[in-house]
Amino acid sequence: MSLSKISVSTLAILAASTFAASARDQLQIAGSSTVLPYATIVAEAFGENFDFPTPVVEGGGSGAGRKKLCEGVGEGTIDIANSSSRIKQSDIDLCATNGVTEIMEVRFGYDGIVFASDINGADFALTPADVWGALAAEVAKDGAVAANTAKTWADVNAALPAQDIMAFIPGTKHGTREVFDEKVLLKGCEDAGAYDAFVAASAGADEDAKKEEAHDKCLAVRTDGASVDIDGDYTETLARIDANKTAIGVFGLSFYENNTDKLKVATINGIVPSVETISKGEYPVSRPLFFYVKKAHIGVIPGLKEYVEFFLSDDMAGPDGELTAYGLVPDPELEATRAAVAAETPMGPLN
C-alpha cells in the first residue's frame, strides 16, 4: 500500500467519523451489576424472538447508570438505566436540567441478600443483632458505649461457632451495601438496644443531631481487619472465601443459587433465604430491583416498549419465568407495573 493510498483512507475514516451516529436501531442499557445478569438474559431472549436487534447491556453500577440516563435525550444517550436502588431526587433534578422530564419507573422483582460461608465450614444461624455485634466499631455494654472487642462469633452470641470473626461485605459504592446497612446493621443496632445507648451517650446539640450521630455510629463497621469491604463483584468475595475458609461473605441470592456447590448459606432469624421465603416477606434482607425508561425514546428507538413489556412478561419476570429460575424473587404487583407500562405512565415525584 503506497503512502498516498494510506493517507486517503485515513482522511476517509476521519471524514466518516465526523458524520457519525447514523440512526441507532439497538437499545442501549446501562447500570447496576446486580441487574446485569437479568437484563442480559432478557436481552438475549428478546434478540432471539423479536425482529429487533439484541439490546446492548452494560454494567457500571446503579448510580452511574442513572447518571447516564439523565445525560439528555437523543440517540447518543442510553434508553434504560438498571438500578438496584430507587432513583434519588438528585438524579431526577439532573434529568430535568438535561431535558429528561419523563421517566418510567419499572420495578420488576426483588433480590435477596444472603450471608454465606465455605461449603465445608460451620453452620451459621444469624440475626441482624449478631451481625451488627460482630462487625460494629463500637458496641453498647451495660448501657455504656465501648469499642468492639469481640474476637470470635461465640463472643457475640454463645450459640454461634467459636471461630474468628472475618466478614467480606460489599464496599460502599455498591447498591447492596445500602441494603446491608439499613436492613442488617441498623436493624441489628436497634435490636441490640445500642441505638438508644448511642443517643443517650451523644453530645449532640438537639434531638435530631443526637439521632443522626447514633445512626452513623450504628453503621460504622470495625476497621481492625475483621470486616473487609469488597469493592469488586461477588466473584471476588467468593475467591476471598475460598482462600479464607472460616470467613463469611455477603452475596446476592442469584449468585448463591448458582454456586450452591461451593457455598453454605446462613439463616437470618431462623429463615433460610430462598425465592419463596423472600417473596412471602419472611426473610428480612431483600430489596426491590428497578429499571428506569426514558419515555422520550419510546417510538424513536425501535423495540424499547416491546423490550420493557417482554421483560415483565410471564416468560421472563413472572413467577415461573426464566429470571425466577435464575434467582429473581418475583414481584407480587407485577400486574400493576405491566398496566403502567402499557399506559406509558411516567413516575410521579418521590415520596
Binding site: L3, I6, S7, S9, T10, I13, A16, S17, T18, A20, A21, S22, R24, Q26, Q28, A30, S33, L36, P37, A39, T40, I41, A43, E44, A45, G47, E48, N49, D51, P53, T54, V56, V57, E58, G59, G60, E75, G76, I78, I119, G232, D233, Y234, T235, S254, F255, E257, N258, N259, T260, D261, K262, D315, E322, A325, Y326
Partner: protein, 433 residues
Amino acid sequence: MSGSLFTQDARTKARNAAERRFRTYGLGAIILALLALVWLLISIFSAGLPAFRQTFITFPVKLEESVIDKAGNRDPAAMAKVTTVGYGKLLATALEAEIAAKGIDLAGVPPKEITDLISQESAATLRNMVLADPALIGTTVQFRAIASGRIDGYYKGRVTMESAALDKNTSPEKLRLADNLKAAGLLATSFNLGFLTMPDASDKRPEAAGLGIAIAGSFMMMVVVLVLSLPIGVAASIYLEEFAPKNWFTDLIEVNIANLAAVPSIVYGILGLAIFINFAGLPQSAPIVGGLVLTLMTLPRIIIPTRAALKAVPPSIRDAALGVGASRLQTVFHHVLPLAMPGILTGMIIGLAQALGETAPLLLIGMVAFVRDFPGGLFDPAAALPVQVYNWTQRGDPGFVERASGAIIVLLIFLIIMNTAAIILRRKFERRW
C-alpha cells in the same frame, strides 16, 4: 609479589569469586522469571484449554408442522411468532422420544427435567435454522445440541457427583443419565469451534458463550489503529527527524512524546470519552471509538521507534543522495525511508500488539457491554478480546471462569503471532552499517 601463573593470588581469587557470584545471581534471576512464566502458563492453560472442547448431544428432531407452522402456509411473519420456548419444547420431546426409542435408562431423572441436559441456546439455533430454511418443516433432522454447562463441566472435571449433589442447577441423576447417553453414543465431546465464532451469551448459558464478536471488534479496532497511526506516526517522525529545525519548540515536542508514551492508558480512555463520545457524538461501544482511543495511545509508542530507525540510517547515505543532486524529499523517500522500513514495521507491530492487549481505556468508552449481534461496521456496538476476559471473570456461573481463561489463551496466541512476525521481519531485513 611474584608468583606462578598457575597459582592465583588473593586478589585474583576475590575477583573471580565476585564474577562467579554475579553469574549465580543472574542465573537465579532468570530461573525465577522462568518459574513465574511456567506457573502462569500452567494456570492459564489448565483452566482455559477445556474451553476449546465442548460436549454435544446429537439426536433426531422431527420438525412438527403443527408446532412450528400451525397455519401451514410458511408465512415468515406467522412462523416468527413461535418463540424459542416452543422450539425448546420440541427439542425436549424429541430427546425424550429418542431416549425411549433407544431404551436408555433415565437413571431417576424425571422426564420433565431431561431438557435440562441441553443448553437453552439450542432452541434458538433450531429456530434460526428453520426460519432460514422453511423447507425443513415436517422433516426429521439430525440435530447437534450443545450440552448444558453443568453436563459439559462434568466431562471436563469441573463438576463431580459430590458437587452436583449440592448444586441446585443439576443433580447426580442427571450426570448418570448423561453417562448413559454417552454409552449409547448420543453424547460426545469434540472440538469447540463455536468458542471462536459464537457471540457472548447470558449468565444462563455459559456453554454457548463465544469470542466471535470480541475477535471481530478487536480486529476492526486494529485496522483503525493501523490505518491512522502508521501514516500519522511515520509522517510526524520523518518531519521531526529530517526536516524540523532543532530549537526549543521541537525539544518540547520531543519531551512531550516521551511523556505521552508513559502516560497510563486509562487516561486515554477518559480523553476518548470526553472528546469522541461526549463532544463529537460518536456512538458508545463502537470499534471506531475504541480504534481512535487506541490510536492516540499507540502514536507516541510508534513515533519513538520510528525516529530511532530513521536515526540509525547513516548520514553518509543522505550525503551521497544529496551529493548527486536529489532533493531532501527524494533523499528521504527514495533512500532513508526504505532503509528504515524494517525498524518502523517492527515498532508498528509491537505497538499494535500493545494496543490489542489494552483493556483500561476501553472500559470507559462502553466496550465492556453485553453485545450479541455481530457488528456490521465500525459504528455498530462490539466487544474486544481483553475486555471480554474482564467481563467473563465477573459472571456468577463457574463455567465462565473456563471461558475467560480460554479467551486469554486466544489473546496470547494473537500476541505471539504478532511479536514473532516483528522478530522475523527484523531478522530478515535488518541492515547494519
